[in-house]
Symmetry: C3
Subunit: 343 residues, 3 copies
């Protein structure tokens, strides 16, 4: 694995397997049964030049749970950048203050440019329409963990991806990670104009996977193991696209009826969140709340062990984790959410 | 005590007494004579969807002084809420990152809705015109502590509340907490239109307290033990109210002359802060600065032990506090403020 | 040294020497070879009422590296100040939450007013056109450290200051600190209208230094040891100045050609950063990136040990630092920046 984590493209199957195993070793800490202080004294620069409370807090909490301290920066502008400072200067300055840096920025490629100037580890927390590798890793980790619980294997699994497959960067990164594994079946369903880019379809097919594209959920799917749904990324639409797109129609909604009719008891439903629960948004339906097949909150919970694993790997403390464990002495509820189910 | 702290309404006299005793045990740490690390490894989500630097920093510092780490969120919008995320989803997501959550939000009831989705403890840090229970608890703690110093008892005490008694949520919560105690005398003085809501007056009276309402401070008060003043909450006025209200007049100002003429040497003056010190604001007068009867800064200082007690109680580490104490080795001034007096 | 650090004017030569020695003792921690927890349990209020990511993160990281916790406040307004709260009240309230306070504020004198109310140590992080003492101290520390490496002495050195010497508060503070030392030679070069204020020129001359003012870099300089460059502070210009100032011309640019023609191999180039790297800005040239004479990133790195020294001195833990050291166990790159050179 390279010094930084900028894109899933730089990850080999071995890197991914290593991170998945490392994340599993983080579970006792992430689930608040044990405490580690292995990064005590280390400082994370958590630089968010685009609002993203969820991702920012997730990285922040993951670093804190390893014992480190976090300097947060939020807001659309970086004051010194507004005064004409280059990414090169900003990067080199921050490397003098921080031991690791997470950066989210609206401009594709900016995080890579930032990282190119320094040897301190940089994690891409999302660069506009570009990459968001930690999300893809936690998606894969969730599938692995759910499959282990259900006695399933990734090889030969059937994964449905639906929603905005054109602008949803998480599905782009996830499909690349899935493609590193043994052949599986991937079905892509999206409204017209929001199809998965063809170079990604070709890449996955070239690696031996069976990829099928459809324009409706009203098909006869067999043996769906994973339904990965996404929000329409209106904020990333081109102007032309915005004008012509009337909104996603009801027929693309994944809800309890869809699961009951077209899926099995062991199908899991994922979503990178946030989901749009406003009337008419036609995002993943809230009628699945409390249904054990809805894995979206287990998925977001997995952000902590996966991001801990990324930090531990880049900062090379992965071998020290087990040496440092102490007990958690505060109250931790058995189930975080009132609708969580024992599985 | 329930899993969350959302309203003083859920608190019995026993709960309140427990929190008061626990806060007293936090004093050595709050006063920076000792250090504890009992929450080392725990993460607080300090979610402020309405600006409130004072309250935010107070909760943050209280959690840090117990050894925990804090993820702050400030700003009027939460990025994923802007994308249509429900409070249910936001709450369940945050519960996966944090061990406790403080939330301030401009909409009444929103914090309760947020808390309903999860089993991780949630503290209401103020929900618009609704509740702000930690403020009421620190107000009560201040009265208790000052009375102990002065050799007074709460039973039979005379408490004057003045200012905006209609929109000032702190007086609403405080009067409820006071009403749980043995009978006392409560006098309410407010400009016309800003009177204490009658259901609260009735509640307090029904619990055996003697409540009197007046429209002027130019009365003959006897034996005032506490003068609780409040700022006019113009930001919560209705439009009609805003138009007709010309501002609070000078006759409602609590100042040195009022204390010298109508109070005793052992009367204490409280205010939930911030006080408006601009000319013409007619809020609590700065001519009392340095007067030992002005207890407003001792009151805000008490926010730390009280909020530590709330965290320790909800996270069930109250029995561990004394096991963990270490010395403070850095400089702590004998008096925090240059005008503070030895009492 | 007084309770606060508000201005370099309050510092004697002894104070400065003490801070320089203390900063040198912080190097093992600042360079991430060792960890200390001496301020474990202490809380810093890092109050930035004017955007300054760099300075804010630098103070934050320095406090964290001493083991403390940090409550950050960013944004142009302080919510309670917007409600009419006085600096006196804000200050006294914050002193109840925090063990030390760093404050940046756009209004000159406001930090001193804030500090006057409390005995908790306050550090001026920049008050508009006023002071920014920690920057001047890290500038001096950088010169000391670079000179030690090069076998030079401050006495008799030749320092060139160039750029906006009128509004650049860092050069004002640095020249005062330099003037406390044995006589040296100081040359000042600025565009017309941006000259160093004459009272500072007079002060330095009165202390026995040889000060010379020129209006061009195209002069014959001999034996330059330090070239201190600054960005044009357009945001501090008067309206009249803004209208008449067409921008700094190319002839004032410090670049590789200037260094090769007018300096030696042991000249170092400093800049308080940020530098404006936009085309036409004519700030310090990027063609020096990677040149070992460019000391600007070593300079910003020095912000950490210097700010640690300020905290340790004000909080009186300077004698405890060496008792507390533990090893750093995470990955720290040999060179922070890819263009950093072994010196």
């Amino acid at each position: 694995m390279s010094r930084h984590l900028l894109s899933v493209d730089s990850l080999t199957r071995d890197h991914v397997d290593h991170l998945m195993r490392l994340a599993a070793r983080m579970e006792p800490i992430a689930q608040r049964r044990q405490v580690t202080r292995v990064l005590e004294g280390a400082v994370l620069g958590n630089l968010f030049f685009e609002a993203s409370t969820r991702t920012r807090v997730s990285f922040n909490a993951a670093f804190c749970r390893l014992g480190g301290s976090v300097c947060d920066t939020t807001g659309f502008t970086f004051s010194s950048m507004a005064k004409g400072e280059s990414l090169y200067d900003t990067s080199r300055v921050m490397s003098g203050y921080c031991d690791a840096i997470v950066m989210r920025h609206p401009d594709q490629g900016s995080v890579a440019e930032f990282a190119a100037a320094i040897n301190v580890p940089v994690i891409n927390g999302g660069d506009g329409p570009g990459e968001h590798p930690s999300q893809a890793l936690l998606d894969l980790y969730t599938i692995d963990k759910e499959f282990a619980r259900l006695g399933k294997r990734l090889a030969g699994a059937h994964v449905l991806m639906t929603g905005d497959l054109k602008y949803g960067r998480t599905v782009h990164s996830l499909i690349k990670l899935l493609s590193l594994h043994d052949p599986m079946r991937i079905t892509l369903v999206s409204p017209p104009g929001l199809e998965m880019p063809s170079h990604l379809v070709d890449l996955v097919a070239s690696r031996g996977h069976r990829v099928e594209q459809r324009d409706s959920l009203a098909s006869d799917f067999s043996d769906l193991d994973v339904v990965y749904t996404t929000r329409i990324q209106k904020e990333r639409f081109t102007e032309e696209m915005s004008e012509s797109f009337a909104g996603i129609s009801e027929e693309f909604v994944v809800n309890r009826a869809f699961l009951d009719q077209r899926c099995s008891d062991t199908t899991i439903v994922l979503h990178p969140l946030p989901r749009d629960s406003r009337p008419g948004a036609n995002d993943l339906d809230v009628d699945l709340n409390g249904d054990p097949r809805l894995a979206i909150f287990r998925q977001t919970d997995n952000g902590i062990p996966v991001r801990m694993a990324i930090f531990a790997s880049l900062l090379e403390v992965d071998e020290l984790i087990e040496q440092e464990l102490g007990p958690v002495r505060w109250f931790v509820p058995k189930r975080l959410g009132v609708d969580d189910r024992e599985l």
